[in-house]
């Protein structure tokens, strides 16, 4: 069992607080059973494909037409095979329709399938008050309280919903200016710019910042928006191992020593792309070390704080505050308002020259519709609440409640012996399931107990490491967290881990013969 824990002392005085991350490996028999399960699934997949090809079974999916059968096959690669034969069988655990606000509890529409997940139909009923462990609602701002949303309703009355123009033409509303000033004040930087969509912020602004002749060093587990932006820019992309500073330093040294591939000229710019919290692992970036490296080798740093803004740090200012660092050290601070502020959109913040450059050169500013006013007002009210400008301590209370909930939940899961990845302070909690059979069973059984979770398998994670990802929220009460971590689904299902006594006997308090279904 490989269990390593770094306490930050190894780097001398760089880290002002302990940095505990866990990426425990599972026992060998778990890996064997995982591959066995995938083997059985693959064999039955071949059998079903054979039956479909020979007409013994009706094919519900897209296939080539008869005339096209002699051409290059379109649906034979592994991804299509996996979708047809493994994903379809457990498809009812994703894309579940919600019919209420995604707060700490929400309502789901009940869906049944008659033909093993090829088609669904709604029964018309609503499953009420399902505990929500999947929504990115870190500070609990996804709420429908009329008092809280009063300013948003006023703005809606005054401005309407549509902007009907791009930022550079007629879509620059005073709410945007107010919001940008507030964001700059929140992050303690010179200026900021907001965009209508978080994904588009990354994918449309990285091409504006780097181009051909530049080098991008990106973490191997970066989000698709960063990867897409990097590829669209046309720069050379090199990937370093996840959160591994030795790998990054080696790449930096090679880049500076050898220069561009054929001409050996110096690179125009070297940009390091990292995220604050990685949403599939729950790990926090090693910011002090990266800033040291950046200063030593004169590179630029682009920090995507999608999940960490509002969620970490003593007052919710993100990873920069969490490590006690100066925001001027990071060249481009990017974040989204989707996760902690209950709205939509993204921002880029930094020096005034940078933001002014983006106002003219960004694709998103030139061609994309700007953020709509009620959403901007929601962000303004949420940010004022977090900063304490509305006169109450509610924002600070929410941030403290979130960190307390995170610590409590992670500690509970660790005590029970489950393998949980990530840093102790990150509100994203991935619980490893490993075996393909458990992915579907876990989600369904949790829904039976009125808990909604998100399970993730291949291709979003490596094939042998499927997981269930919990997102802790400040709006969760301790009873809800107890219900979730104490659900005997966890006991019954995941009988692997550190072997901390998770046998049948230890989890049978709620046995009531309801398994004969």
């Amino acid at each position: 069992i490989l269990y390593f824990q770094k306490n930050g002392i190894s780097n001398g005085g760089l880290y002002k607080r302990p940095f505990n991350e866990h990426f425990e490996q599972a026992p060998m028999y778990v890996a064997v059973f995982t591959y066995l399960g995938f083997g059985v699934g693959t064999l039955f997949g071949y059998l079903r494909d054979f039956m479909r090809a020979w007409g013994l079974e009706k094919c519900h999916l897209a296939t080539e037409r008869e005339e096209q059968k002699d051409f290059v096959p379109l649906y034979q690669d592994f991804e299509n095979f996996y979708t047809r034969n493994l994903y379809m069988r457990i498809r009812d655990n994703w894309n579940r329709p919600i019919c209420s606000v995604p707060g700490p509890q929400f309502d789901l529409m009940e869906r049944v399938t008659d033909d093993f997940n090829w088609t669904f139909r709604f029964t018309g009923r609503c499953i009420k008050d399902v505990i929500n462990m999947g929504s990115y609602n870190y500070l609990g701002f996804a709420e429908t309280d009329a008092n809280a949303l009063k300013t948003v309703a006023d703005v809606l009355q005054r401005y309407g919903t549509g902007v009907c123009s791009t930022r550079q033409e007629m879509g620059n509303i005073d709410k945007h200016v107010e919001l940008e000033n507030l964001v700059a004040r929140f992050l303690d930087v010179e200026a900021a710019m907001v965009f209508g969509m978080g994904f588009a912020t990354n994918s449309m602004n990285i091409p504006a910042l780097v181009g051909k002749g530049c080098l991008i060093l990106s973490d191997e587990l970066n989000h698709t928006s960063l990867v897409l932006g990097a590829r669209l820019s046309g720069a050379t992309i090199r990937v370093f191992k996840h959160n591994n500073m030795q790998s990054l330093e080696k790449l930096l040294r090679d880049a500076i020593a050898h220069g561009q591939p054929r001409s050996h000229r110096a690179w125009k710019k070297i940009l390091i792309l990292v995220e604050g919290i990685y949403s599939m692992e729950g790990s926090i970036v090693r910011l002090p070390e990266i800033v040291t490296l950046k200063k030593k080798y004169k590179a630029y740093l682009y920090l995507d704080e999608a999940h960490s803004i509002g969620a970490v740090g003593p007052t919710g200012r993100g990873v920069v505050e969490y490590f006690g660092m100066d925001p001027d050290d990071v060249d481009v601070l990017m974040g989204t308002f989707t996760k902690s502020f209950g709205a939509a959109g993204g921002y880029i913040a930094g020096k005034k020259e940078l933001v002014d450059f983006l106002r003219t050169h960004s694709h998103s500013a030139t061609y994309a519709t700007s953020m709509c006013p009620p959403v901007a007002e929601q962000i303004i009210r949420a940010m004022k609440c977090v900063m304490g400008l509305d006169g109450t301590t509610q924002g600070l209370q929410r941030v403290c409640q979130l960190s307390e909930n995170t610590r409590y939940f992670r500690q509970r899961l660790h005590e029970m012996g489950f393998i949980v990845y990530g840093n102790d302070d990150s509100p994203v909690v991935p619980l490893l399931l490993y075996m393909p059979g458990k992915i579907g069973a876990f989600a369904r059984r949790m829904l039976d107990k009125n808990i909604g979770v998100v399970v993730v398998g291949f291709p979003a994670t490596p094939i042998g490491e499927s997981r269930a990802r919990f997102c802790v929220s400040a709006a969760h009460t301790r009873e809800m967290l107890d219900t979730v971590s104490g659900a005997d689904v966890l006991m019954k299902l995941t009988s692997d881990g550190k072997g901390a006594g998770r046998s049948y006997k230890s989890g049978n308090e709620e046995v009531d013969g309801s398994y004969t279904s």
Binding site: G37, G41, F44, A441, V511, G513
Partner: protein, 80 residues
């Protein structure tokens, strides 16, 4: 109460077997097919073990005791 306990334990074992071998996601007829094949293979393994393992152990024991223990009983000359 004990019978209920035992029944639930057996169901739990069956459920773990379904999860580990990824039978949980299969349709009922595929599950029956898998169970048949698995039980057949398992029965064959048990039968082979029952028939062959004791004889092999006995022979191995005799072989090693011949090397270390010296003479075999049937090679000792009968004294008259």
């Amino acid at each position: 109460m004990d019978i209920k306990h035992a029944k639930d334990y057996l169901y739990w074992l069956y459920f773990q077997y379904l999860l580990i071998t990824c039978c949980y996601v299969l349709e009922p007829w595929e599950q029956s097919m898998f169970h048949t094949i698995f039980i057949t293979v398992f029965a064959m393994v048990v039968y082979t073990g029952y028939v062959f393992v004791p004889i092999h152990i006995h022979l191995a024991f005799e072989f090693f005791s011949q090397i270390f223990g010296g003479q075999h009983e049937s090679t000792v000359a009968i004294m008259n």
